[in-house]
């Protein structure tokens, strides 16, 4: 357990006192096994109580602590100090408005998530008293990966199309729609298509693939979006070229 002095360069912005963001550097004695979040907590407790950022679980499941670390979207609680040199730059997540310091706006993402109907719309109504639905391990596996999204929004910070076109529904929201579409218990795909197969839906994605590269939970949103495109395209051809085929 060796200790190392790290220069932590943090983007600061306080809307009440600053007209634009600026960098502030803190010299932090870090244990080698620390994560960047530990270093931030050290700053908060010992050097500068005015630094603001979000965190809670410290185990990469709550999705609070997304930020840019040396330019890469990362969870601060899973960015290990030993992977960095003595100079670490921490900035708020790209593509989101900065509220203060490392805190960015979440509202837009939540609204997008809500609009894809991210909940089970059951194929068949069954009262709770009739027991659980059947679902084979294979059927579960089909969508399981997409349930792992912790809503950390790193994929949005990585996706240039979201940066360029803020109306884009974006990787995590569409992946979540796909998750329910792929669930053997669900029958709500048609309802979700109205939103995700629109121009601002999946069609803003040009398969940059950055979302999947940065996703800390290996959800592979890029894959989900391409699958949604394939399925939506098949829908379109069926609808327009083979109108006699009922979906």
């Amino acid at each position: 357990m060796s200790e190392r002095q790290i220069q932590l360069e943090v983007l600061r912005y306080n809307p009440e006192t600053d007209s634009e963001p600026r960098y502030q550097t803190y010299s932090v004695p870090c244990m080698n096994e620390w994560v960047v979040l530990d270093a931030l907590n050290y700053v908060k407790d010992n050097l500068d109580p005015t630094l603001s950022y979000r965190w809670s679980c410290h185990m990469a499941v709550c999705g609070s602590c997304g930020m840019m670390i040396n330019g890469e979207p990362k969870l601060a609680c899973k960015a290990f100090i030993h992977e960095y040199t003595d100079q670490v730059r921490v900035e708020p997540m790209a593509n989101f408005p900065i509220e203060r310091d490392l805190v960015t706006s979440v509202e837009d993402f939540i609204a997008k998530l809500a609009c894809v109907k991210p909940y089970l719309i059951p194929k068949s109504d069954q009262p709770v008293s009739a027991g659980a639905f059947q679902q084979s391990p294979a059927e579960l596996k089909k969508f399981k990966q997409y349930t792992l999204c912790i809503n950390c929004m790193l994929c949005y910070a990585a996706c240039p199309q979201y940066g360029l076109v803020p109306e884009f529904l974006g990787p995590a929201a569409i992946s979540m729609a796909h998750r329910y579409n792929q669930d053997s218990r669900d029958g709500g795909r048609d309802q979700r298509q109205e939103v995700i197969a629109s121009d601002e839906g999946v069609w803003e994605c040009s398969f940059v693939g950055a979302c999947s590269e940065v996703c800390p939970k290996h959800v592979d949103p890029a894959g989900a979006l391409q699958q949604v495109k394939v399925a939506s395209t098949l829908d379109w051809y069926k609808e327009h070229l083979m109108p006699w085929m009922k979906k």
Binding site: P160, V195, S198, D199, W203, S206, W236
Partner: protein
Amino acid sequence: MAKSNKPIFWGLFAAGGTVTAFVTPALALVTLIAAMRYSPDMFTYDAIHVFAAHWLGKLVIFGIILLSLWHAAHRTRVTVHDFGVRADSLVAIVVYALAGIGTLLTLVYLLRI
């Protein structure tokens, strides 16, 4: 929000992407060798003509060219956007028109063979 009509073009783009991925490198290699005139009698009019004259050959050539065109056209549209040109409708008309003309010409030439 309404469902987008992008699937028409995206379908062609995706199919085209696959086709060009399989054939274009080899085709380009052939024309590259021809360009370097590696050996003058490597490209015989007869052999290629026989292939192109057969209806199956025509179909294959038509398929490859059509899909390559539409693949490239759609991706160009996106790429122009990525370079910061925000006139998507105009760009779309231009690139799809190019692809359309190319398709038409191909059809005409193939029928003449």
